[in-house]
């Protein structure tokens, strides 16, 4: 899957611009072509948001199961650990005979990566709730369900958000490989001309920028989700 020479010729006219001709870093070319990166960037966002959202829903369900039946925790961790260890590049091609090229294959792989991080952080968050707090809540007559939604989950929020942040930045990086599974994204743009500095720098920086923006949004979410923290600090 090396970039074809033909594709390079199409990408930039080598007869006129010497900077582009030398595969250099060309601000002029970048400002002219930045628009070409918007649709891969958007695809990248789709991949990340979809994968983290599905991964969170799954991990949350699994964590609740493991809360109800404690013995489930170890096998769930083990399975998600193996999924996490399999290199995503390999995972794409292992799934290919089953799910074919496209978004589905990429999202399955990316979701499987978020599971370990999210499951462990949600579980640890729930476990870290002090026993005295639980006792006090039970003493106030809260049922098990009320205990979960009104005491345990709010107190576990810092760990849950921390897990979401790690999962999101990791997924932004991994989604750069999703083009191997035929799912596009910024990686496809990098791959289109890997020796052209301007191209590599713009696509790479957009990845980093995307990770930073999503991370900041999650920090904001944390502040919104835990108003009592701000009150305590003020």
């Amino acid at each position: 899957m090396r970039p074809l020479v033909l594709a390079v010729v199409q990408l930039h006219d080598r007869t006129r611009n010497t900077c582009v001709n030398q595969n250099g870093f060309c601000p002029k070319w970048i400002s002219d072509h930045i628009g070409d990166y918007l649709s891969p960037l958007w695809r990248h966002v789709e991949l990340v948001v979809l994968s983290v959202a599905i991964g969170f829903a799954l991990a949350f369900g699994l964590a609740l199961l493991a809360r109800r039946w404690q013995w489930l925790g170890a096998p769930i961790s083990a399975v998600s650990g193996v999924l996490y260890t399999i290199p995503s590049l390999a995972a794409f091609f292992l799934l290919l005979p089953l799910t074919g090229f496209g978004l589905v294959t990429a999202v399955i792989v990316l979701v499987s990566y978020t599971l370990l991080i999210l499951f462990r952080n949600i579980t640890v968050g729930l476990q870290n709730v002090p026993g005295e707090v639980l006792d006090a809540a039970r003493g106030m007559g809260l049922t098990s369900r009320e205990l979960l939604w009104r005491v345990e989950l709010p107190l576990a929020m810092p760990e849950i958000i921390a897990g979401l942040r790690i999962a999101t930045t990791t997924t932004v990086g991994l989604a750069a490989l999703a083009f191997f599974a035929g799912a596009g994204g910024l990686g496809e743009k990098i791959n289109a001309d890997i020796t052209f500095k301007s191209n590599v720098v713009v696509a790479g920086l957009l990845c980093v920028l995307l990770a930073a923006v999503l991370d900041l949004m999650l920090v904001g979410l944390q502040r919104l989700a835990m108003p009592w923290r701000r009150a305590a600090r003020a």
């Binding site: 091609f93 074919g100 760990e159 790690i166 890997i194 191209n199």
Partner: protein, 261 residues
């Protein structure tokens, strides 16, 4: 796709692992014993990168952890390490420095440094200050405290970092052929030569290799953990710990978060 055809693809992938065959375009023989060469190159470049990363990150992390400076460096290292996509990093190296074994090894080294550094640092910092004070009281000084107390107690976390990096590096080395290194990624990147069965076979081997490395380093991590630090995993031990203090913070997971290709 029917289950039979699905199994057929995997069967054919196993076949290309075991027997040489003519490449898709014809002319050359691929598969069979060639896998050993590819695995060898894969392990060689991974080992070189990991060794250099260890040589740089361990002394620096341990030293900064010992003197208690560089908190900011440690945390931003971990974050930046996660945010830069490895594929972009390799592409950056190809565009700016060129292709070849040395450049890919360098890119992999950069990838491997943050988890090792951060874990070496955190490993030293998490050592109970009371224990260090007790050591001082017993007459240990600078180097004695490092060797006798801090280092043994930091080893499990440090090896956790090396384990993360080792798996990351083995996984990412699959991108090597993009930069002209013929390792296990070759049949994946050059699927037009090896065919989809060759690509699937390579994916299977890379996956097994990564799991093997993970297990090997997990064993190593357990082996270097001092006896007194090994968690009592019996039910009674778990109950004792839960009563004694809140469960440890999810540090392991915070530091596991390096991206794995």
């Amino acid at each position: 796709m029917t289950p039979v055809a699905f199994l057929g693809q995997f069967g054919d992938a196993v076949d290309i692992i075991l027997h040489k065959r003519e490449s898709v375009a014809g002319g050359i023989q691929v598969g069979g014993s060639e896998w050993l060469t590819l695995i060898g190159e894969h392990l060689r470049i991974s080992a070189v990168a990991l060794a250099i990363a260890c040589a740089i990150a361990i002394p620096l992390g341990l030293w900064l952890g010992h003197i208690g400076r560089g908190e900011f460096l440690a945390s931003s290292f971990a974050n930046i390490g996660r945010a830069v996509p490895t594929y972009a990093l390799i592409a950056f190296f190809v565009a700016y420095i060129g292709i070849g074994f040395r450049n890919v090894a360098l890119a992999l080294t950069l990838l491997a440094i943050p988890p090792i550094f951060t874990n070496a640092y955190v490993g030293m910092r998490q050592v109970d200050r009371d224990t260090v004070d007790a050591g001082r009281g017993m007459g240990l000084t600078g180097w004695g405290i490092v060797r006798g107390i801090e280092l043994p107690m930091a080893l499990p976390i440090l090896f956790g970092g090396i384990r993360i990096s080792a798996v990351n590096v083995v996984a990412t080395a699959t991108l090597g052929p993009i930069a002209g290194v013929d390792d296990l990624g070759k049949p994946i990147i050059n699927a037009n030569v090896y065919g989809s069965s060759g690509r699937l076979a390579a994916a299977m081997i890379v996956a097994l290799l990564a799991i093997g490395v993970e297990l090997a380093f997990a064993g190593l991590q357990r082996a270097v953990t001092p006896k007194g630090l090994k968690l009592d995993d019996s039910a009674a031990g778990r109950r004792r710990r839960r009563l004694a203090r809140p469960a440890p913070l999810p540090q392991t997971i915070a530091q596991r978060g390096g991206s794995t290709e």
